[in-house]
Amino acid sequence: MSTIAFGSGPEESLEEVENPVNKLLRKERMPSIWCPGCGVGTTVNCFVRALEESHLDLDNVAVVSGIGCTGRVAGYIRLDSFHTTHGRPIPFATGLKLGNPDLKVVVYTGDGDLMAIGGNHFIHAARRNIDITVICVNNLTYGMTGGQVGPTTPRSAIAATAPYGAYEEPFNLPAVAESAGAVYVARWTVYHVRQLATAFKEALAKRGFSFVEVIAPCPTLYQRRNRLGDGLDALKYYKAKSIVKNGADTRTAEISFQSDIVVGKFVDRERPTVLDSMNKRLAESIGAGYVPYPLSEDDTMERPRMEEEDCGDH
């Protein structure tokens, strides 16, 4: 064991000391493949904290990831975890959730995985309001494959496939999520560890399609190519330039190169989930012959069925 302690006395046996986060990690597979100063691991700490504070039955929590550095989260978390194909964790998660609505399904994805190849699935899942939580670690690039330009790369940033600087307008993920129908939309950076853990907790508790974007550094590629220092320099930038605007209009949350970053909880609303809508429609049409699709215990016992007329404007 390579554990050392500062401030410890001789009475303590270091063999028995365990980082409290270890019980939710596959520590035997570490050190992780993430670079020094990569933000993904920090988000995992926040996620673990959110899980613990949520008092969910962790056997019922499943993590689904796509491909990329963020996609590797599934392999490091000690829950039922699925490392699927690039861009497709959301439809996998849809099948998983509809196959067993008692599961709490979390998608962990990156900016390219979610919004380039996965964009179509993202907007449909939000439209349907499938009851899953999507965590998007946005490092403004395709890290795993060497730092290529992606759908969130700010204009003028240098990238492997944009050697003269990116020139396409990037997506504003919170705005896309809101307009597609997500019921919970928040953005934080990995500097905001406490707020991020809270946002994850709220997103997990939220019924319907919840989305949390996390701005995080890719030190080896995005930071280095753009001469922005390392991961720590990125966190200092987030600290200096983040502006907390809870309830902000998501259309004002776009990020340009080293700009201010609007963070906060932007959307928190109610809509019937896809299963609510399905069961309601089928019960009305079929009547007595309909075998209601099993809803999770949570849904039937604690929360009132959402009536479409009651869900308000969105």
Binding site: G7, V17, N45, C46, L235
Partner: protein, 89 residues
């Protein structure tokens, strides 16, 4: 959580004394510096010592200032460092 670590006088006598301990799995550390930067009481510094991968690992230079908040643990992208309060004696 017991905030009085017994070392600073507040006029309240606590029966149980606590101190803070910072633990570091040196082999996991990648020397990113998050813990050093974001510890609110500046307990840590990146030291001259390094691990087998060549990363300079942090050490506590002011452990008595540690409040046990575990922000270091929350920030650490490699789950290498964390702190907690332990009972004294």
């Amino acid at each position: 959580m017991q905030k009085d670590n017994g070392a600073e006088g507040t006029g309240v006598k606590s029966k149980v004394k606590f101190k803070s301990v910072v633990y570091l799995e040196t082999d996991l550390c990648k020397g990113c510096g998050f813990c050093v930067e974001f510890c609110p009481t500046h307990v840590l510094e990146l030291g001259k010592e390094f691990n087998a991968k060549g990363y300079h690992t942090p050490r506590a230079v002011a452990i008595e200032k540690c409040s046990g908040c575990n922000l270091c643990g929350l920030y650490c992208p490699d789950f290498a460092i964390f702190c907690r309060k332990v009972k004294v004696g």
